[in-house]
């Protein structure tokens, strides 16, 4: 054997040896999963799944504002993930584009199929077929600082239930000192304001879209104007810190944690964050009120779907099924102050004594989620009409101009 042949033989042998472990790993399928960055919950779930052995999931966390763009680009490039945790309001658009696997038969075969949260399940359905199931459950509500309520002479156990009461509470808290503010909203964050501001309109019987979501009602529904005036009053009177005007969502959660904010909109994700990072705060929660009472919430969060291009549909479904199972819902959701994906488990042995978790869970009872293929363009886009309207009305005070602009741009987008 010549030296050249000997080298070739060694290389070929090395290739075979190298291939052996690969074929041995075939049983342990590696799947990719994408999620937008909304806390540690998904990483904990994936770690628990991976620790069981068998198929493994590699999690990629994507900044929330980038998710739709990156997902769209990845799909176009044929690089979409096996499993995707999608902001539920985008699910119809991805399903309509044929990018999600039809899992109707699998979902219908579940013994608890009818027990899955209805709002999330509806958004996971497109033209009667099921493409996604509930995954991360977020109903918006108001969190408040009981210490500041007390310092302002307010009863910390009786939170506001109308706009006027909320305004009065904000005034009283802002009067404590120059560093304390009654209310907070992220003035440059489109999605945050869909989540925490739209419910003020819904709770008062108004809306920015018609019931069939096919036309804008911004200029015609008087409640929209009144809701803008309500926030404008708080802004004008200095009840909201000036820095809120440029908050693109990066301080949406942390601002309240400073202890200088009386009330702020949040979701279930805020509960653990505030408790872990700011144990000194005494927290309370109440539903987002309507003008004269009532309550509403944005039924938000994520649904989870399997990419239509996956090579591992069964393994991916096994993860989804495990996630929805009794044990996972109880031990990895409820026990960690997270809202379950099953209606019958919303009140459980862990949530009974926790008013915050109960408020987050019961917010879903008054929750609403717009069903629109152009939701991103209307509400979540940082350069979209929803945020521009809010900024012009609340920060600049031009409510008339904002209403007209919102109506025109919503109509333009809806009509394509």
């Amino acid at each position: 054997m010549t030296p050249r042949k000997a080298v070739c033989a060694v290389l070929i042998l090395a290739l075979f040896i190298g291939a052996l472990p690969l074929s041995a790993q075939d049983d342990d399928v590696a799947m990719t999963m994408w999620v937008r960055n909304i806390g540690d919950q998904v990483q904990e779930l994936v770690d628990a799944w991976n620790d069981r052995g068998g198929s493994q999931i590699q999690l990629t966390v994507i900044p929330p504002n980038e998710f739709v763009t990156k997902m769209g680009a990845a799909i176009a490039a044929g690089e979409s993930p096996d499993i995707a945790s999608i902001d539920l309001i985008y699910a119809p658009a991805f399903a309509a584009a044929g990018q999600l696997l039809d899992i109707t038969d699998w979902v219908d075969a579940l013994p608890y199929a009818d027990d899955l949260l209805p709002a999330h399940s509806e958004l996971g359905t497109y033209q009667g077929r099921k493409y996604a199931v509930p995954f991360l459950i977020e109903g918006s509500f108001i969190i408040y600082n009981k210490g500041l309520f007390e310092a302002a002479g307010l009863d910390p156990e009786v939170p506001p239930s109308t706009w006027d009461e909320l305004l009065e509470a904000a005034r009283a808290i802002s009067a404590i000192d120059d560093e304390t503010y009654g209310y907070y909203f992220a003035g440059a964050c489109a999605g945050c304001n869909a989540f925490t501001y739209l419910p003020y309109i819904w709770a008062s019987g108004g809306d920015v879209l018609s019931a069939d979501y096919n036309s804008a009602t911004i200029a015609t529904d008087p409640i929209v104007r009144e809701a803008l005036e309500f926030y404008r009053t708080m802004w004008e009177e200095g009840l909201i810190p000036e820095s809120a005007s440029i908050d693109d969502g990066s301080s949406f959660v942390s601002a309240f944690g400073t202890g200088a904010i009386g009330m702020a909109g949040t979701g279930a994700f805020g509960i653990n964050t505030y408790r872990n990072d700011h144990p000194e705060l005494e927290l309370g929660a109440f539903h987002i009120p309507g003008k004269d009472g009532g309550a509403a919430s944005f039924g938000g969060g994520d649904v989870i779907a399997i990419g239509s291009g996956t090579q591992h549909p069964e393994e991916a479904w096994a993860f989804l099924e495990w996630m929805m199972s009794d044990e996972t819902q109880l031990e990895l959701y409820a026990a960690r102050n997270r809202t379950t994906v099953r209606v019958s488990m919303l009140e459980n042995e862990y949530s009974q004594d926790d008013p915050l978790v109960l408020t987050a869970a019961s917010a879903l009872a008054v929750g609403k989620s717009p069903y629109s293929l152009v939701y991103n363009d209307l509400f979540n886009d940082p350069n979209g009409p929803w945020l521009e309207m809010i900024q012009i009305a609340i920060l600049d005070g031009d409510i008339e101009g904002a209403l007209q602009l919102g109506q025109d741009r919503f109509t333009q987008i809806i009509e394509g």
């Binding site: 739709v68 763009t69 769209g72 680009a73 799909i75 176009a76 991805f94 309509a96 584009a97 044929g98 990018q99 440059a188 000036e242 820095s243 005007s245 440029i246 693109d248 991103n376 363009d377 886009d381 940082p382 350069n383 521009e388 900024q391 012009i392 920060l395 600049d396």
Partner: protein
């Protein structure tokens, strides 16, 4: 030729092809003729972005050029430690625009930013300023950041032009009693015409194609007042998934850039 074909002609042809289609980022595309182009005329934000991009280009080009020329004049002669100054002035150029934009986000922050700290320490302001809260100040800080980032490149281009002028010409002018400005306008600038044309064309193209700084520092705000034309193309293509419409805007932008560069080249052509 192969390089030009693969990296310019084919992508350009594909963009042109896409611009005549309703081409969603995901899903099926369909031929719609010139509809994307006719829609541009009624796109309020497109026209606003064009206007903003031209205003930005007009505002940012003179400081880059004038400051670049001053710096090039200062570091022209090979004196001791001049390499240090040239390096320091050029250093921001080697930082990626995305990274430098993030750096400016931090420097402009009202809580931990260095600008507010300096201005407060100097007692020029009474409380921390929100530089990005108003359209005018947002535009100004963007211009400041871009001048800081790119002036070194213009300096190097102009320095090469300055050093190519023979010293004998200045010595003769000195003998004839010419002052600084006479030498500047009758020797330096005329002999640097080609270099100036190159520096200006590159600067204007860079400004018209500006994206990163607006995407990262202002996110197009406040009130959508800083959405450049490339930002709007990006939004339509990747956020709204309207690739065909984005392609049509890109073709129009290419035409605008060719026209602008031609005008500059014509005005600064050699006239002897």
């Amino acid at each position: 030729m192969l390089f030009v074909t693969v990296f310019f002609i084919i992508p350009l042809a594909m963009t042109l092809f896409m611009s005549f289609h309703d081409w969603p980022l995901i899903g099926e595309q369909s031929w719609i003729g010139a509809t994307n182009y006719t829609e541009l005329a009624s796109d309020r934000q497109y026209l606003k972005s064009l206007d903003f991009t031209f205003r930005y280009t007009i505002l940012v080009t003179p400081p880059i050029f004038i400051l670049g020329f001053i710096l090039a004049s200062l570091v022209r002669h090979n004196i001791r430690f001049i390499g240090v100054f040239r390096t320091v002035f050029f250093l921001p150029v080697v930082i990626g625009l995305g990274v430098s934009s993030l750096l400016w986000v931090w420097m402009l922050d009202q809580r931990v930013g260095i600008f507010n700290k300096i201005l407060l320490d100097l007692h020029w302001i009474a409380k921390p300023q929100l530089f990005l809260a108003k359209p005018a100040t947002a535009m100004n800080v963007i211009i400041l950041s871009v001048v800081w980032k790119t002036v070194g490149f213009t300096m190097i281009l102009l320095l090469a032009g300055l050093q190519s002028i023979p010293d004998e010409l200045y010595e003769s002018a000195d003998v004839d009693g010419a002052g600084y400005f006479r030498k500047l306008f009758y020797i330096t600038l005329p002999l640097m015409r080609r270099t100036i044309a190159l520096a200006l064309i590159l600067s204007v193209i860079g400004s018209v194609l500006a994206f990163d700084q607006f995407y990262i520092i202002t996110r197009g705000g406040p009130r959508n007042s800083t959405i450049s034309i490339v930002y709007w193309i990006f939004n339509n293509s990747f956020t709204y998934w309207k690739m065909g419409y984005g392609a049509a805007m890109s073709i129009v932008l290419l035409g605008i850039l060719v026209a602008l560069s031609s005008i500059q080249y014509y005005l600064l052509r050699e006239r002897y």
